[in-house]
């Protein structure tokens, strides 16, 4: 018992932070229908500002006021007023991508302003971290742990008193039922909504400031993991119950520490399972609770009065536009190909070859999300599976790298089928979160073994060789990657133009109606997941062979989010969109490399904010601009005819 307690008690502070976040998450999800994935970034913002203020010599209380009472609610309010308010009734993909954009952009903006440096020993909010207050079951309870637990309990107590005994609390609870009905009852629901955002952002800020000192240094990544833990806790409360979400958070923190205590130390499982627990819980809950799956489609009982979402302009498109773009596209492609083989400097050829590999990975997102409406947040993991398979086959079994690249695609496809099996029953946000959890599992456990990604040290992939033909030189490899991209793009084009493409479009439009006309959704989803995973795998393996050495960090789950955001920004509905995304991704990165290191933060900021525009231009910024240009050109060409 003493042993149990000595493992369990250090989990309480973590549990408290998870619980605060979970409560805030459920609060906004219930009342606004937006699943705020940027919540982790909000927590990070407050933690960072608190750190900066304290280090600038401010008293702790002033830093707390600035970070948690002023900045946190303002940030939440800004996000609601300028973004979420407009997309409450938008499709899941729009809400998700906008929130993802914020999740990626906000930490980078902060680092652009406050600098990239490592921030060691984040300050404690209240009691000094160094002093030990008392011992429970052999655990020394220090100031950080004690203050985290006390502050959390106090806040939660206040919160429940407010929700049951005040006017605004009553209105908030009514809002959770239906904002429109609250409005019909004569309540200014916008004002209540503002109050809820302020409150939940305050909770995020508080959780951020409380969490920071539990780690050795302040890193944005810790807050993404915190977010997933909070989502898992919220899922334990079926996304509706605040008390259950709260206790779910506490439980998760405690079980995590228990696992760390009881598992044999020194193995990948023990070091990986503990941080991976929230993802496992989340994945398990999504698969096991049928009620929960439906709850991810949070709908207002009066949602029927919302107008239908606007059509996607790119898929309707003018025929003139498509014809002209096709010719233009081929010309650009030819110029690009010849340039890379002739005058392009070697480092730029290398960069552009990377772009080709990324384009292949991004094709998988076009196929899966753009064409089929399935949101997968683990495409980087599939790319990793492809790369590591190729590497292991080449180094340990002496199999030719070219075959290895294909095998990488095949293994990724197999894993894709395994991931697709739960996806058959999940959809929308639930699928997105399940794939995110899968990606984090791959990060923490799957890629850590020596037979897969080999942890931090990574694995090496030689350049391919075909008979006497070597692809070792930069230009030769460029040609290989170019041919591979054309082949992969051809596959996606063929699928799109054939019956399968139409079936996918039907499935994206309405799964119910697609099944009712005889579309086998299960088979279709499995096939499309497999093909998409294979594309990502091939792209990943090519990328690995280009780099020479790859480690799990090259394919971490955060990259999956960035990939999604990048593709959605340029154009997720077209094959060209994937190629534009791949090129934009590497070119921007290379250009920013010439600037001082701090400016590299511009990269996630640009794409993060770009993703926010998805709500306005679902066809993608590049596709939208192309349309505008063509419309202008055609208007200008028609002008003489009108006059004449």
């Amino acid at each position: 018992m003493t042993e149990f307690l000595s493992y369990a008690i250090p989990g309480l502070p973590y549990g408290c932070v998870f619980a605060l976040m979970a409560v805030g998450l459920v609060l906004t999800y219930q009342t606004s229908g937006v699943f705020n994935l940027a919540y982790g970034a909000q927590a990070y913002t407050s933690a960072l500002i608190f750190y900066v203020c304290v280090n600038a010599g401010w008293p702790t209380w002033a830093a707390f006021l600035a970070a948690v009472v002023v900045v946190a609610p303002l940030l939440g309010l800004a996000m609601d007023r300028f973004l979420y308010r407009f997309i409450r009734s938008a499709p899941v993909l729009v809400k998700l991508v906008s929130a993802l954009g914020m999740l990626i952009a906000i930490p980078s903006m902060l680092q652009l302003v406050f600098g990239n440096q490592q921030r060691l020993a984040p300050p404690s909010l209240w009691l000094p971290p160094g002093s030990v207050y008392f011992h429970v079951a052999g655990d020394a309870i220090n100031g950080t742990e004690l203050s985290t637990v006390i502050v959390t309990l106090a806040v939660v107590l206040l919160l429940s008193l407010m929700s049951h005994f005040t006017q605004i609390g009553l209105r908030m609870r009514a809002m959770a039922e239906s904002p429109r009905m609250v409005q019909l009852a004569g309540v200014n629901s916008e004002r209540v909504g503002v109050a809820i955002w302020v409150l939940s952002s305050f909770l995020a800020g508080l959780a951020g400031v409380l969490l920071a000192p539990l780690f050795a240094d302040l890193q944005a990544l810790n807050f993404t993991d915190l977010l997933v833990a909070a989502i898992a806790a919220a899922a334990l409360g079926s996304l509706t119950s605040l008390p259950l979400a709260f206790w779910g958070g506490i439980g998760l923190g405690v079980v995590q520490e228990l696992l760390g205590g009881y598992l044999p130390s020194g193995t990948v499982l023990s070091s990986g399972l503990r941080p991976a627990l929230p993802f496992i819980v989340l994945l398990g809950l999504l698969l096991a609770l049928p009620g929960l799956r439906e709850r991810w489609f949070h709908t207002d009982p009066l949602a029927g009065c919302d107008p239908p979402p606007p059509p996607i302009a790119a898929t309707i498109g003018g025929y003139g536009l498509q014809g002209l773009m096709r010719v233009g596209g081929w010309v650009v492609l030819a110029v690009f190909f010849v340039s890379c083989l002739t005058w392009m400097p070697a480092n730029w050829t290398f960069t552009l070859t990377q772009g080709l590999a990324f384009s292949i990975v991004f094709l998988s997102i076009v196929l899966l999300t753009g064409m089929s409406g399935q949101i997968s947040l683990c495409q980087a993991s599939f790319a990793g599976i492809g790369a590591f398979t190729c590497a292991q086959l080449a180094t340990h079994f002496g199999i030719s790298v070219l075959l290895g690249i294909l095998a990488g695609g095949a293994v990724a496809a197999l894993v894709g089928v395994v991931v697709a099996l739960p996806a058959l029953r999940l959809g929308g946000l639930a699928l997105a979160l399940a794939t995110l959890a899968f990606g984090l599992l791959a990060d923490n456990i799957g890629f850590q073994y020596s037979w897969s990604g080999n942890g931090v040290s990574g694995v090496s992939i030689p350049r391919p060789q075909l008979g006497s033909l070597s692809f070792a030189s930069g230009k030769a490899f460029f040609v290989l990657a170019f041919v591979a991209l054309i082949a992969c793009a051809g596959v996606v084009f063929a699928i799109r133009r054939g019956t399968t493409g139409r079936e996918l479009a039907a499935m994206r439009g309405s799964e119910l109606a697609a099944a009712s006309i005889g579309v086998n959704l299960a088979k279709l989803k499995i096939s499309v997941f497999a093909v998409a995973a294979a594309l990502a795998g091939v792209g990943g393996a090519l990328y690995g062979s280009l780099q020479g050495t790859v480690s799990p960090n090259d394919f971490n789950s955060l990259l999956s989010l960035v990939f999604m955001v990048v593709v959605v920004t340029t154009g997720v509905y077209s094959v060209e969109g994937a190629i534009e995304a791949g090129m934009a991704y590497v070119i921007l990165y290379q250009v920013l490399d010439y600037l001082p290191s701090q400016w590299r933060n511009l990269f996630p900021i640009l794409f993060g904010l770009g993703a926010v525009t998805y709500a306005l231009h679902p066809e993608g910024i590049v596709e939208w601009q192309k349309r505008r240009v063509i419309e202008r050109v055609s208007a200008w060409r028609k002008l003489p005819q009108v006059v004449g």
Binding site: R502, A505, G518
Partner: protein
């Protein structure tokens, strides 16, 4: 042999009994109505027949074959087509695309590998789709985005999408809901034409009793999940029990 034989269907949602021992028989080529007040279980029965919902007790036979365990798409391929009370259209696709995809799925020439080698398209599809567009008077809007069409056109597109598959049984779920009188009248005349041209069996859920009278031969009446009457439309509607269900107790 009856085309559709649903026997003793029961379905509960928690404490609510949505369907209580409901039995329905439809012969080949027969048009049958299904009327009843809101919440009577009409759409639930549809969902059970086409497989969107599982039911708790009873069995369903289609052309003598048990279909309870078949998936929605398998029942569709056997020849059960349906429309939806709340339109379920494919966003971003034109009416022509709607019919095209249904036709291709029906012909089952959508093999994945055929697409990959670019042989997944058949020319005869186009002609059939064009014919149907004319029959449903959708030619003018055939290439417009579906979001820009009226509810009335949406209903016709759903009808066409079901018809292009040559169903033997067509389940129509309140086709007149959300339509004005003119649109309803034109939908009715299209429906009658379709009836005259192809003798597809139909089960029609409808509140517009005029439409029901014009299209169907006999009707079932559902109330609170129970079948309370069946027979010729006017006779059934005159029964006191049915009047009470629809209009409430007048005494």
């Amino acid at each position: 042999m009856a085309l559709l034989e649903a026997t003793g269907i029961s379905k509960r949602f928690g404490g609510i009994v949505a369907l209580d021992d409901v039995s329905v028989v439809i012969d080949p080529g027969e048009a049958v109505g299904l009327v009843g007040p809101n919440g009577a279980g009409k759409t639930t029965l549809f969902d059970c027949i086409n497989g969107v919902r599982h039911f708790d007790a009873g069995e369903i036979r289609f052309e003598g074959r048990r279909i309870d365990r078949l998936a929605v798409y398998e029942r569709a391929r056997l020849g059960i087509g349906r429309t939806f009370q709340r339109l379920e259209l494919f966003a971003g696709m034109s009416p022509r695309d709607h019919l095209m995809v249904a036709e291709r799925v029906h012909r089952a020439d959508g093999r994945f590998w055929k697409d990959l080698i670019g042989r997944g398209r058949a020319e005869s599809t186009v002609a059939r789709v064009e014919e149907l567009l004319v029959e449903l008077r959708l030619s003018d809007v055939a290439d417009d985005p579906i979001e820009s069409l009226s509810q009335g056109h949406g209903r016709l597109v759903e009808l066409g999408r079901a018809l292009v598959q040559d169903p033997r049984l067509l389940l129509l779920d309140e086709p007149s809901s959300g339509l004005d009188t003119r649109e309803t009248a034109s939908f009715a005349s299209v429906l009658l034409e379709v009836r005259a041209n192809r003798r597809t069996a139909m089960l029609l859920v409808e509140h517009d009793l005029d439409l029901v009278r014009r299209v169907v031969e006999r009707t079932y009446v559902l109330d609170f999940g129970k079948l309370i009457a069946s027979g010729i439309v006017d006779e059934v509607l005159a029964e006191p029990g049915v009047r009470r269900a629809y209009l409430g107790d007048l005494t």
